[in-house]
Each structure stands twice: as C-alpha cells, then as structure tokens.
Subunit: 214 residues, 2 copies
C-alpha cells in the first residue's frame, strides 16, 4: 500500500527532525512505525531511499516558505518576503536546513536524485528571479542577477550556519535582528564611499571580465 509508505515517510521525518541523521536507522524507524525492521524493506529498498524521501520533504517545505512571498504586490516586497521566508525556515527548521546542506555521500548516496537536484535548481532560480526583479526596479545595482544572488545567498547561508553552530550569540529573536542588520550592511556595503570608488574601478570590473571570458 502507498498508504503505509506515506506513514513510514511521516515517521522518518519525525524521527529525523527529533534525533538527527544518526538517529534515523531502519530499526528505530520500524519501531516508530510500529512494525519490525524487515517490514520497512517491503516499501523502501533501503535506508538511502528513505533519506531521499526525507530530503524531498525538506525541499518541498523550504520552497513553500519561499513561494509565500509571491503573493506580494511589488518586487521589493517579494524580495524582502523571500528573505524573511528563508530566515523563518532557518530558525524554525534547523534540521531540515541541515539535511539540505549535507553532502550526498554522507547520506549514503553517490549523487543526488535527479528530481531533488531539479528542486534545488528551481529554488536557486527563484532567488535569481527575485534579484532580477529588484534590479529592474532600480533597487539593486545592475549586473548579472546570478552573480549578485550568489553574494546574498552566501551571506544568508553563512549567517544560518554560524547561528546553528552556536557561533553567534543570542536567542532566535536576537538572531533575527542580527540577520537583518547584517543584510542591511550587505545592501549598503561595508566599505566607505571613497574606498569603494577605487575598488570598483580596480577589482570589480576586472573580476567580471574574468568571469565572462573564463
């Protein structure tokens, strides 16, 4: 029954979110479902396939948090809304955020399943679209939206990681404030205007040239 497979997946998600990757074994999963271990193999080929489904659920949930911003009327609000969705997901679902950034080999896979890879690409593309919108609206500086989105993506991802590692002091609420203040610094730039003038002509254009020719 597909019914039972869904029950198993639900339990697998619960178990992972509660105990982490190491806590998600076929035996414990079976106990959680209320059957014995071999019964799981009737519905899943092995642990790897279970993890794939859990990972799929993580991406689905993450995409929901982001797509909520699509209801906003302006490019700026969709941009900010997507950022807030990201931030909320990071705070509310650290474990799901974690598995999404766990190397496939560590999950016992040689490579990511194609459909999950496609979900990642779609999420990445969603971000690029939000950035392009804001470029067109004169909110973000012009240029390649994919490049600018990498900068913001890296910043957000780094903040999330440092928070989850406990490298940033404070509670969740303080982290939210810290995150937004840091984002604002990224928007405005950390260097002085005088220095930036020199930097832009020296480094930025040179690097963009290299990227286009390389």
């Amino acid at each position: 029954m597909t019914d039972q497979r869904e029950r198993i997946l639900a339990c697998a998600c619960d178990l992972y979110l509660k105990s982490g990757l190491d806590g998600l074994s076929m035996r414990k999963l079976a106990r959680e479902v209320g059957v014995t271990a071999p019964a799981i193999y009737r519905h899943y080929d092995g642990r790897e396939e279970v993890l794939s489904d859990v990972l799929r659920e993580a991406h689905r949930t993450f995409a929901q948090y982001l797509h909520a911003a699509l209801g906003e009327p302006t490019a700026l609000e969709r941009f900010v809304g997507a950022g807030e969705g990201y931030l909320t997901f990071v705070i509310e679902h650290p474990r799901w955020y974690g598995i999404m950034h766990t190397a496939p080999e560590q999950l016992g896979m040689d490579a990511l399943p194609a459909d999950i890879d496609a979900m990642q690409s779609a999420i990445h593309q969603f971000w690029i679209d939000r950035v392009r919108e804001c470029m067109d609206a004169g909110i973000l500086k012009g240029g390649d939206p994919a490049m600018a989105s990498i900068t913001m993506w890296a910043h957000a991802h780094g903040m999330a990681q440092l928070f989850h590692e406990g490298c940033l002091p404070g509670t969740e609420e303080e982290f939210k404030t810290l995150f937004k203040a840091s984002w604002a610094r990224l928007m405005a730039g950390v260097a002085t205007e005088e220095f930036t003038k020199n930097l832009e002509s020296m480094v930025l254009e040179e690097a963009d040239m290299e990227m286009k020719t390389g």
Copy 2:
C-alpha cells in the same frame, strides 16, 4: 613515549583528511599506525581525545594561514591578506575547514575543550582587529567592528560552504575569482545608492538601536 603519541596524531590527521570523520575509527587508526587497536589506548583515552587533537591541529594550521598577513605594512594589506589566507585555507584544506565547523556533539564531545574554544576566540578577535584597523584607516565604514566582521565572516563562510557542497560551479581557480568578485560586491553594497539612502535611515539605525538596548 610522547614520540609515539605524535606519530598517532599524524596518522589520525592523515586518515581524517583522506577518509573524513567516519573513516577515522580506532581500528583503522591503529592499522594506519602499524599497531593493534588496544595499543592506541595507551596514548589516548579514547576516540574523543584523538578527535580533540585533530581539531587542535586544524585550528593551528588555520591560524597560521591568517597570521601570515600580519607581516604586511598597511591595515588594508593586512585585511586583504587575511582574507586571502582564509580563502587559500578553504581551498587547500576543505576537510580541516569542515571539522572546524562540525558540532562538538557530532564529534562525540559534550563541549569543546577550553583551549580549542580559546583558539576560536583568538581567531575571531584577529578578524575583528583587522576590521577595526580598516575602520580607523577610513577604508571600512565606522561602527561596531564586531558587527561588521560578522557580516563579512558570514559571507566568507557561506561562500566556503557553498563551494564545498558543490553548489558553486567551477574549478578552484574560478572559485577564487568568484569569491573576490563577491567580496567586492559586499564592500560596495548590492543595493543602489538611492535605495540605500532610505534603507539606512529606516532599518540599519533601528536595528543597531535594538542591538544596543537588547
């Protein structure tokens, strides 16, 4: 003999750098050293203590990469040099970078040993000092150096993570270029000047206020 303990540590580092955390078991370590497993316990209380020493080596190496920048004559060059040291370490030693950002519990420890915690603090402080120098030199905008350094730290860390996860396309050399271009964007800011003017008066000051009163 301390001699043998050093040999074991060297093998443990090799083994970890080659096979990762899961590949570093007491049995495999013993085989690598050329003895049997119980012999390791004469020099180390257990796996946890071995991992502590490996982690210590990672921090030592990382600190060396950063401190090389202290030979530079100006604040800007020390700042840039530290950034390049960071980038080089990230590229040359992904596994060591990885273990430095692995949760203590995942290493089988309840907490980080005090001396390693102190090494982390020293590294963090080193960064804040470089930022403060550049603020004093008029290169970076004024404010709390610790806050500005978090923004840059998060960006660099995020770039490193995305690179190691394979989320960023390209070779190591292309990543270097990408990293520097992204850094330049962080220095100059991603938003337009018009938008930044509004943002600064709306969000940034408000957030800084919250941080100071909170």
